[in-house]
């Protein structure tokens, strides 16, 4: 089995250069590639295009890359929880492309699956349809949307093996499997890395073919964005 294991996050991201286009997994702060983001902060490439459902918060997730002014363009569906983002956007220092969440997911899926474009009903009648091709199918209007691919995909799974097979946990799966397939180089970080053969093939969510590098993160904060509990 091909061995995808690298020593750590720094080694995994060592060739991410200025102007790279990155896919970053996660929904809010759930299932984000924490270790790769930390390593990127140290390496400090500039002019990045980041494609991620959210912008993180001011002091965690993609928000850290924004704060360090490493990002020139953000492609996301929701950026509400980040003041730094808002500041840079208003000052005209950061480009933003807002995409409906389902369209974002499908564009990334299409990128990984070799489908250059598809039609979706989402966005018809809205500002986001401006300049896009519209076609009618069976009496209903649909928008043409293009695939998304990237130089690197930074994703996070729960468990993985040295062959790059991945298993996610809970709702931390979200965009990660889609992005795995859409990155030219996909860097997966996991909480537990095992030798190939130790994961049950029946349980694998992302087959190793999509993953070029895998490492085990040292420590996962897994910050919770909104704590909501039921009374005891």
């Amino acid at each position: 089995m091909i061995n995808k294991k690298v020593a750590n996050a720094a080694e995994a991201i060592q060739d991410i250069a200025d102007e790279s286009v990155l896919l970053l997994g996660g929904f809010g702060l759930c299932g984000i590639p924490e270790a790769a983001i930390q390593a990127l902060l140290e390496r400090n490439p500039k002019g990045l295009t980041c494609i991620s459902n959210n912008a993180g918060v001011d002091d965690f997730g993609v928000g850290l890359l924004l704060k360090k002014r490493m990002v020139k363009k953000l492609i996301a569906s929701y950026v509400g929880e980040n003041e730094e983002f808002e500041k840079q956007y208003k000052a005209g220092e950061l480009e933003l492309e807002l995409i409906p969440q389902g369209t974002l997911a499908e564009r990334i899926r299409a990128g990984g699956a070799g489908i250059p474009a598809f039609f979706t009903p989402a966005g018809i009648g809205s500002q986001l349809a401006e300049g896009k091709e519209i076609r009618e199918f069976d009496g209903r209007l649909y928008l043409l949307e293009r695939w998304i691919k990237a130089d690197f995909a930074l994703i996070k799974a729960w468990k993985g093996d040295t062959a790059g097979n991945l298993i996610y946990r809970g709702t931390a799966r979200n965009f990660n499997p889609l992005m795995a397939a859409a990155g030219k180089i996909t860097i997966a970080e996991v909480e537990e890395l095992v030798p190939a053969g130790e994961l049950d093939p029946n349980q694998v969510h992302t087959p190793g073919i999509y993953v070029q590098r895998i490492f085990q993160g040292d420590h996962y904060e897994k910050r919770i964005e909104k704590t909501t509990i039921s009374p005891e």
């Binding site: 933003l96 409906p100 389902g102 986001l128 709702t171 909104k226 909501t228």
Partner: protein, 221 residues
């Protein structure tokens, strides 16, 4: 006038046995608290879960388990987990029966605005555009007026439109409304203690009041 919780209680009465339901952020999330326990329904979270349960006990809180509002949640028995493309395939593919959303404004044609980009506020669109483009029955939960007192039930939306002619029913603090095929907000029920003049005054779009309008009853404290 209804509280947020009472709006949620009223919407919960629309829910039918066997439905798959997507709840938006805000008042819609509260609806889950009032769905009668004898109904078998499944709540979808578009970040990848069918079977949202109540908020967890402190000790059971799991950072890998959040809803679309990024709140910690639990799963009910029989839940399933999936990725974001699958979640929206369910939505656009017509598999979700009911979507309950908040809104900034509605037009009398049933257009909905629930996102905006302006110099004062940038939030994003999330999954709203996909949800309103699905075949799910679309219920809107919102306050009748903006904070400055202006009506959210308009002739035409002033904010960017999320979807055209897609709203089925509207639940505000003043009443329940349906959208007439020819355009117009038809008052179906009014909130306790609200008189029709107030509703007329606070509805900017075409309002249709026909016959005796029943008053809502039976709110839990």
């Amino acid at each position: 006038m209804l509280t947020k919780e009472q709006i949620a209680q009223r919407i919960a009465r629309e829910i039918k046995d066997g439905q798959y339901i997507n709840l938006g952020i805000g008042i819609p999330t509260l609806v889950a608290n009032y769905i009668p326990s004898h109904l078998q329904v499944v709540l979808q979270s578009e970040n990848g879960l069918l079977g949202i349960g109540p908020y967890p006990k402190q000790a059971d809180m799991d950072p890998d388990l959040v809803n679309a509002g990024k709140e910690t949640i639990s799963m009910v028995r029989g839940s399933s987990l999936f990725d974001s493309a699958e979640a929206f395939a369910m939505i656009r593919g017509g598999h979700i029966d009911v979507a309950i959303l908040g809104a900034l404004e509605l037009s009398e044609n049933g257009d909905i605005s629930n996102w905006k980009i302006s110099s004062s506020l940038i939030k994003g669109v999330g999954g709203a555009l996909d949800l309103v483009a699905s075949n799910a029955k679309l219920f809107v939960a919102m306050r009748h007026c903006h904070k400055d007192g202006s009506s959210k039930l308009k002739k035409q939306c002033k904010f960017p439109v999320t979807g055209l002619r897609c709203v089925h029913k509207i639940f505000t603090d003043l009443g329940v409304f349906s959208i007439l095929p020819e355009g117009g907000f038809k008052l179906v029920e009014k909130a306790p203690g609200v008189d029709l003049d107030e509703i007329r005054q606070k509805t900017e779009g075409r309002l249709v009041i026909k016959g005796e309008i029943p008053e809502m009853t039976g709110f839990a404290k």
